[in-house]
């Protein structure tokens, strides 16, 4: 070690306090000071030392010696941190699992640490997506440069966004975000946080900023409404033909750039892919924790192609189901975006579904998803609700069983009723009991409960409201994705929601659950997870097969209960947040009518939708 070097550093840093940001301290560019680091390690000694070291680097450190607690913290505020350092061997959760979760849900760079320097462990870190692997004992020099991972990731995100567009930055549509500029003190990472914190109305605008700083990446927050519009547009065009420019035109959202749309489209596609490939994942729910990560985009891709088709092939998912699922997946996304739309969607809903009968062909997963939105008819709304519930149930179930059965169920694009039935059927059967358990394992994603930011959350709120009922077995935790559904299916509370809608929701929920920050993604993810099975899919997947046409009411109850249960469970610590659900959402959502509708339908639980965290949906990191 270079003692001299560190001494020099020490003398430099010694004057500064251990706090990070210092706006007015005269430093020209405080970056990377102020980097918000979360350290997770069960070893208290390491934790203490790392904390001190990171403070010395002028970073803002938060330490946790329990992975689950740390994950909850992250879920509560997805943009609260810039980077995560995690130990590999931890008693309550495998470091790699945490890595996956964080990567999928929050899309934060994660650095693994361990005293174990064997190649396979390091390789495991790489394959799981760690952006770096540090061998203990960790030296301060190694920590000094961790900011590079944050910058790199942001750059990648930005590149991705830029890549999507046809190459030109639409200056006209870009709005400078004065907030960000002003607040850009030491941390360029602030922008993300700000963006995600924006309320719904702000979200609708393209929060794109000029590329004034390479570190700052403009981010559009894909609110439920926005996403709904997006999906609508995509469905209209046909997933194959959906190009950003046309989507943008169809959406007709002021301030939205083609670049935003492109990026979002990319992610959406990934989601669809994942949804179809979900069947491959067959993890038991015990990973409930991990479930969400799968649910997120990752699951989408896995679901994509493999999952659905495999499921279909295996007979678990009838071809139509496949399309239904996809449609549902798509639908989920759509409804989530705009609860209001969902309600009023009645007529339009079919628009999607019908327009995309083609979706039925399994080969095109994306198409399938298109069909889903159609299900948003009033009836479907009702089902959605139920589906949501079912979803919750499903989630629970899925935990225990794998499969695409859920998917199968969802895969019926055309028959909403059928879907409803399926959902009902499967859910009803015994979900409640099963749910409780698996879900518990997962802490409630804070996202779900606290994601008041996104409108989707509001929507989901409906779903979650049921969740918030303690009785619900469904773990909310699982449901980050569940949340999503809530959002989407704002109508969930509306019994008429179509099953599809609910399904979609559920999936989304599942997915969203996984990824707090990506409500949107979550939706996608739901599908994937469903397929994936068991551990990952919270239940949606598993639920599939068990579905049987039954009354919706049962399902909804179950769902609600399950959801409610989940919520309490998953969030061991977050329970208090849960209760909170009802409150924040309405505000955020800004859609009182929607909210009330949801509230009515739900058993009085607050709109969980916001929890879906749709707000923070950042597409930028989607690898296409």
């Amino acid at each position: 070690m270079n003692l001299g070097g560190s001494r020099a550093v020490n003398s430099l840093t010694i004057q500064s306090s251990s706090t990070t940001r210092r706006p007015g301290d005269g430093v020209v560019d405080p970056f990377p000071a102020g980097l918000r680091v979360l350290v997770v390690d069960d070893d208290l000694i390491c934790l203490t030392i790392l904390e001190r070291m990171l403070q010395k680097c002028l970073y803002e450190v938060t330490i946790h010696n329990r992975a689950e607690a740390a994950l909850e913290l992250l879920r509560r505020d997805k943009t609260g941190f810039d980077i995560v350092l995690s130990d590999v061997h931890m008693p309550d959760m495998d470091g790699f699992k945490l890595l996956e979760c964080v990567g999928l849900e929050m899309d934060l760079p994660v650095i693994m640490m361990s005293a174990d320097d064997s190649k396979d462990v390091v390789m495991k870190g790489v394959t799981h997506g760690a952006c770096d692997y540090l061998i203990k004992p960790i030296r301060i020099e190694a920590l000094k440069n961790i900011w590079q991972h944050v910058v790199r990731k942001k750059k990648q995100d930005r590149k991705e966004m830029e890549f999507e567009q046809s190459g030109s930055v639409e200056d006209g549509e870009q709005q400078q975000n004065p907030l960000e500029d002003a607040d850009y003190l030491s941390s360029p990472y602030e922008e993300n946080r700000k963006n995600s914190n924006k309320r719904k109305d702000e979200k609708d605008e393209a929060e794109e900023m000029d590329d004034t700083s390479t570190l700052k990446k403009p981010r559009v927050v894909w609110s439920v409404e926005l996403h709904q519009q997006f999906v609508t547009a995509v469905n209209q065009l046909g997933i194959d033909k959906a190009v950003p420019k046309k989507i943008l035109e169809l959406m007709n959202v002021p301030g939205l750039t083609r670049e935003n749309v492109a990026s979002h489209l990319q992610k959406y596609r990934l989601y669809l892919r994942r949804v179809s490939g979900v069947s491959q994942h067959q993890n038991g729910l015990n990973n409930s924790f991990m479930g969400p990560p799968d649910v997120t985009f990752g699951s989408i891709s896995s679901l994509n192609g493999l999952g659905l088709q495999a499921l279909a092939a295996s007979g678990q998912i009838p071809p139509q189901s496949l399309s239904t699922i996809q449609a549902a997946a798509l639908g989920r996304v759509a409804p989530l975006i705009d609860q209001r739309n969902i309600f009023s969607y009645e007529n339009q809903k079919f628009r999607f579904g019908e327009g995309h009968q083609q979706l039925n062909d399994n080969s095109n997963q994306l198409k399938l998803l298109h069909g889903i939105p159609t299900n948003m008819e009033p009836k479907q709304l009702g089902t959605l609700h139920q589906s949501a519930e079912t979803f919750g149930n499903m989630q629970v179930q899925s935990q225990s069983s794998q499969s695409g059965s859920l998917m199968t169920q969802l895969a019926q694009p055309l028959s909403r009723n059928k879907i409803l039935n399926e959902i009902d059927g499967s859910h009803v059967s015994g979900l409640p009991s099963s749910f409780g358990q698996p879900i518990l394992s997962q802490p409630m994603p804070s996202g779900i409960l606290t994601q008041s930011r996104s409108e989707i959350d509001n929507v989901c709120g409906a779903v979650f409201s049921s969740v918030s009922h303690p009785s619900a077995a469904v773990e909310l935790s699982m449901n980050p994705s569940v949340q999503m559904p809530g959002n989407r299916f704002a109508p969930i509370s509306n019994p008429r929601m179509s099953a599809l809608a609910s399904k979609g929701m559920l999936q989304e929920e599942v997915k969203s659950g996984m990824k707090g920050s990506r409500a949107f993604l979550a939706n996608y993810g739901v599908f994937t997870d469903l397929n994936q099975n068991g551990s990952r899919d919270w239940g949606l997947h598993n639920v599939g097969p068990t579905f049987e046409p039954t009354q919706h009411s049962n399902m909804s109850q179950q769902l609600n209960s399950s959801l409610a249960d989940n919520i309490p469970r998953s969030k061991a610590q977050k329970l208090p947040d849960m209760g909170f659900q009802n409150t924040p959402f309405p505000e955020q959502f800004g859609q009182e009518d929607l909210m009330s509708a949801i509230l009515e339908q739900q058993e009085g639980t607050g709109p969980v939708g916001s929890e879906f965290g749709f707000d923070g949906y950042h597409l930028d990191n989607l690898p296409v």
Binding site: M1, L3, S6, R7, V9, N10, I14, S17, S18, D42, D43, L44, I45, C46, T48, I49, R52, M53, K56, D87, H89, S114, A115, D116, K136, P137, I138, R139, I140
Partner: protein, 136 residues
């Protein structure tokens, strides 16, 4: 007076390093000390001994089982190694590695032997560090 103390401290430290008890990581810890955290190293070491005492005990108990649960032992030792190397306890770290090797090969006797050695080193270092920190 002070210079003597400093010198004494310096000598102690040097010997600790020379004898291989401590390595550069210890220096890293010392670098983290400043006016705001003047006793950081001592605090960490104290924390280490408190935390690892529990581990040592667990390992000891597990070593008494028959048959030996090598996976468990390896797990404990991994934790112990992580803590030990974080404070720069060089010898201990080596003992841990050795122990883990024995676990991998299922060498129960090797584990026990190494563990005895490890305990000795552990106690010796503790004494030395206590002494070290006592110097004002």
């Amino acid at each position: 007076m002070e210079r003597n103390l400093h010198k004494q401290l310096g000598n102690m430290k040097k010997s600790l390093f020379d004898q291989g008890y401590l390595d550069e990581q210890f220096i890293q810890l010392e670098e983290l000390q400043d006016e705001a955290n003047p006793n950081f190293v001592e605090e960490v070491v104290t924390l280490y001994y408190r935390d690892s005492a529990r581990l040592i005990q667990n390992i000891e108990q597990t070593l008494e089982n028959n048959p030996l649960d090598f996976a468990k032992l390896d797990n404990y030792m991994h934790q112990f190694k992580g803590s030990s190397c974080s404070i720069g306890a060089k010898k201990l770290k080596n003992e841990c590695t050795q122990f883990r090797e024995h676990c991998k090969t299922g060498n129960g006797d090797g584990c026990k032997r190494t563990f005895q050695q490890l305990k000795k080193e552990y106690a010796a270092l503790k004494k030395k560090l206590e002494h070290y920190f006592q110097v004002p």
